[in-house]
Amino acid sequence: EADIYQTPRYLVIGTGKKITLECSQTMGHDKMYWYQQDPGMELHLIHYSYGVNSTEKGDLSSESTVSRIRTEHFPLTLESARPSHTSQYLCASSGQGNTEAFFGQGTRLTVV
């Protein structure tokens, strides 16, 4: 079992609220990723980071933002949630010498 944690697992929130999805890993991995996935559908990379103070936008445009102040922590923030943000958000990490990515359990976000 990979040591990467996402909180909360489930979140229902009203339109216009600011939310932060947490992702932490204890493996010392330098690379971290956020994917957006509609239920049972393909994954879309929305943000990634190759190290502290390094963040990049992914292949799918997203209104969310991320930060990487500490190696182990890669939170994702939505300043003003909208129903179109309803989705599952998956965090992943990989490290030096580790070629595979390890995934957290995901956060299922519903904006009403």
Binding site: G40, M41, E42, L43, A92, E100, F103, Q105
Partner: protein
């Protein structure tokens, strides 16, 4: 453009029968290849990978995958399917390019094992 194709949205197989889930890729060079499984409301779990060496790689839960360089394929196989194997399976590649560590995922194949 680099891409990964999983041509079947769903694969149905009877319990006890062998299963194959197909994956082909279009990536330059010699990428790393992966298979993941996803159960409902969960993240992705790593099954196996091909980096180099033998074309047949073995992974978790009795799964294996066959790499074919000329066909740029990496099909997932299992000799005898279980009902508990029913899940969503993703093929992924990571191009081996200096400074790039992004994973490209296929669209997923839903495996349904019938009792």
């Amino acid at each position: 453009a680099q891409s990964v194709a999983q041509p079947e949205d769903q694969v149905n197989v009877a319990e006890g029968n062998p299963l194959t889930v197909k994956c082909t890729y279009s990536v330059s060079g010699n990428p790393y290849l992966f298979w993941y499984v996803q159960y409902p409301n969960r993240g992705l779990q790593f099954l196996l990978k091909y980096i180099t060496g033998d074309n047949l790689v073995k992974g978790s839960y009795g799964f294996e995958a066959e790499f074919n360089k000329s066909q740029t394929s990496f099909h997932l196989k299992k000799p005898s399917a279980l009902v508990s194997d029913s899940a969503l399976y993703f093929c992924a590649v990571r191009p081996v390019t200096s400074g790039t560590y992004k994973y490209i995922f296929g669209t997923g194949t839903r495996l349904k094992v019938l009792a």
